[in-house]
Amino acid sequence: MRELVLWIPLLPLIGFIINIIWGKQLPKIISGGIGKLSVLASFILVCIVWPSVSSNQGPVTYAYLNWIETSSFTIPFSFLIDHLTLVMLGIITGVGFLIHLYSDGYMKEDEAYYRFFAYLNLFIFFMLLLVMGSNLLITFIGWEGVGLCSYLLIGFWFKDHANNDAANKAFVINRIGDLGFLIGIFLCLYHYKTLDYAALNSIAATIPIGATVVTLITLSLFFGATGKSAQIPLYTWLPDAMAGPTPVSALIHAATMVTAGIYLIARLNGLFLAAPLTMNIIFCIGITTAFLAAIMAIKQNDIKKVLAYSTVSQLGYMFAALGAGAFASGMFHLTTHAFFKALLFLCAGSVIHAMSGEQDIRKMGGLKGNLKITHLCFLIGTLAISGVPPFAGFFSKDEILAVTYTKSFWMFVLLSVTSVFTAIYMFRLYFLTFHGPFRGTEDQKHHLHESPWTMTLPLVILAILAVFGGFLGIPEVFHMPHIFKTFLSTVISKPGTEVSHFFEYCLMGVSILALIIIVIGVYKYYIKNNNLPEASESTLNWWQKAIYNKFYIDELYNAVIVNPITQLSKWVYRILDRKITDGIVNQIGLSTLLSGQSMRKLQTGGTGFYIFAMVIGIIAMLCINFLFK
């Protein structure tokens, strides 16, 4: 059992090592096969491990070795497997395997096929380390590692400089968040002498609520989570990260890496519950991010960018749930979101593949005839994310809305408006891509084809999950067991707050009604009246321009933070490095040279001079001998 659990992250690591060293010489079938099989094997291992851990009713810790041992604390290298871990493991290996299968078809013609699978496997390894670690430090290893893999995979097509800039941006912003994480680790270590999750959660139960130390620790950790999970203020890297191949966007920026922040807070729920100030901040930031990102998504014209802002928005929902204390609801939305967001991204990849690389929805249209499976799956994904019953998103979103209502009325209003916007931009995307006349070039029209089975099979599987996944968490108004909540109740101590049944029914009714209105409205606007998104921004008035340009936040960050640092680094290079450091080193070399040049003039070759020098030397030695006796 201990060994089986250790093999779960080890198999993808081995896949990475094989692919990165010998991948170039191996035929594509073998390197791709190794990449896919290692994750499949991990998934099978998770399935094997699941029943035995699930029956334990308590967390199981597998310690492997004592990593850091000092007099005041010990940090072991150990894994903590409990129900929360199992949920994440299932998502990572399951959805991960589907995306590996998809990548086989998507990256078939790429010459760096082996490198893609190597990096994907490395990512899975680090992500598994992140969720299985039993203390903050192992999680941090995984945290940094997935940031690295995100950089490697976003900049996968590194010959195009724009991709490198996007990868740099993602990595640097992640690192800024990591600073918060590190400060949190240091504070924990200093005050509580332990980084173990079980220990921290139990310590948190004993200290007074709202103590400064706990608030600082949780705020720092939350800052790290905003970097990883793309919340305000560190979200600007996610839309740019769409420069990477679509399977990367699906895996990293929809299903797994961005969920690391939410997992962290859910894991340390005891600690966070002891700091109500932090919970309020998480709540507000989550809802604000959800709202702003949804607005920005309405005016985007790139398929993947719309989905990227949608991811930021949905992550905001999850943070709102966490901030309100409903950790299980946040994790539930994480699971359903993993299903339908990965589905949407993979469908987008299928569309891009069919359109020979075109990503602008203004140049698409009427694809539903040519891409039947993709169209159906995309429709299912859209219905799921908009919260149409009985698809997955309906149940998880409703839960979050209900929890928000119990905490704050106005935030609930904001979040409901965000749901409206979500439906608007998703259906806008759907209608513009699949309905209406085809707006692309003749060349693209000839190449339109449905994707191979390696790409459509994962779509179908994820679509099934998006349809039925919601039934894992049926609200109790229907008097059915909430499987997800009971599953996580062993980990998450605080039960969610209850809402009245009347309110639940109202909420469901109103949201269904609103959805119908929205779908009809969007359809009429874009298809019936043939209103296309504008070709350029010159026709917009000032507030439309602001939304189109994403509220100029990127430009603000560039002007206030990026440019001063770039100028500073240029100054340091020009003055400190080239003139001073190089100057000193060069001078030392020059002085050696000069002394050599003057020394060589002693070699005159004249015998008389040599004898003279010898005599002088003897006299000098005698003098020194007698003077310093």
Binding site: K601, Q603, T604, G605, G606, G608, I611, F612, V615
Partner: protein
């Protein structure tokens, strides 16, 4: 025996030895003919021999005189080798002028 030796004060011997040695050094430094330089080296050696014998006689210690034996042997050997080298140099350069030996210049 000692008083007949001690009729000439030791200082005279030291002075004589020093003068001989200095003449030898100056000769080594200033003369251009290699054979003259060898002779001056011999002069230095003899000056030291004289000093050693003088001290040995005045302090009735025979160690000085024994050392003189060794010095003489070594001087003889050194002259033999030195003159052999000088002969070879002459065969190549056709002169014993040390100013002509400038090839080891930088």
């Amino acid at each position: 025996m000692l008083d007949s030796i001690q009729q000439i004060p030791l200082n005279y011997y030291i002075l004589l030895s020093t003068v001989l040695f200095s003449i030898g050094v100056l000769g080594v430094l200033l003369r251009r003919n290699a054979i003259i330089i060898f002779m001056c080296i011999e002069l230095m050696l003899n000056a030291v021999n004289l000093l050693l014998v003088a001290f040995s006689a005045y302090s009735q210690n025979s160690a000085g005189q024994t050392f003189v034996f060794f010095v003489m042997i070594i001087a003889a050997a050194e002259v033999a080798v030195g003159l052999a080298i000088l002969v070879m140099v002459y065969r190549n350069v056709h002169s014993v002028d040390i100013e002509k030996l400038q090839n080891l210049k930088w």
